[in-house]
């Protein structure tokens, strides 16, 4: 089974009262290309999130992909610090490069706009790939089928 390793993303955070020396955040985040059913594509950051039930993205990304969000099925969902989020669902292709690509029904929600990145969650991503995380070496490794 081929193993594809990706580097973590490091983010320097300025000092605060809680962290007077600042922080360096290390996240399993990489770049993905989204392709909508209309063929339009968009390159974005994605975070591998084992706690997310599905893959989800900012609602703005659906608009940038030319998706008619008002025609999509919806449901209410919740997250940390939020509930009853209107969530739109559509099927898109997600390509991380280096042979790691899949198609999934993904959620689009306005509350993700401030974060400007997608979450690769259980349904669609972890249901297709086994992943090994190494915070110490700042890499994650995806086992492709």
């Amino acid at each position: 089974m081929p193993e594809i390793s990706f580097p973590y993303r490091h983010i320097k955070v300025p000092p605060s009262a809680a962290h007077p020396d600042g922080q360096t955040l290390r996240n399993p985040k990489t770049v993905a290309t989204l392709t909508a059913s209309n063929g339009k594509t968009l390159r974005v950051f994605v975070l591998l999130d084992t706690g997310a039930d599905a893959c989800c993205f900012p609602l703005t990304y659906a608009l940038l992909l030319g998706i008619d969000v008002l025609s999509l099925p919806t449901e209410m969902t919740g997250g940390i610090g939020s509930m009853a989020n209107v969530t739109y669902y559509d099927t898109v292709q997600i390509d991380l490069g280096r042979g790691v690509a899949f198609t999934a029904k993904v959620a689009f929600m306005e509350g993700m706009n401030m974060h400007a990145m997608g979450l690769l969650g259980q349904d669609g991503f972890f249901s297709n790939f086994d992943v090994h995380f190494s915070h110490k070496s700042s890499t994650f490794t995806i086992m492709t089928p």
Binding site: I11, A116, T139
Partner: protein
Amino acid sequence: MATAILDTSALLTGIPAGAWVAISEKLNKVLAWGADPQEVLVEARGKGEDSPLITRVPDRQSMAMFF
């Protein structure tokens, strides 16, 4: 094996928090930024970049996250 740490934070220095940013395919250059992500993408593609990466400058209050 992974070859490099992905760190684009230095690229975003000086751009206001909340702004949408288009970054070059090699992640080494900001092509355009502004309040409207569609306009940012159009400007970036106008500079010859077919597949710019779209992101947003994080606010200090949303840099550490608990999803």
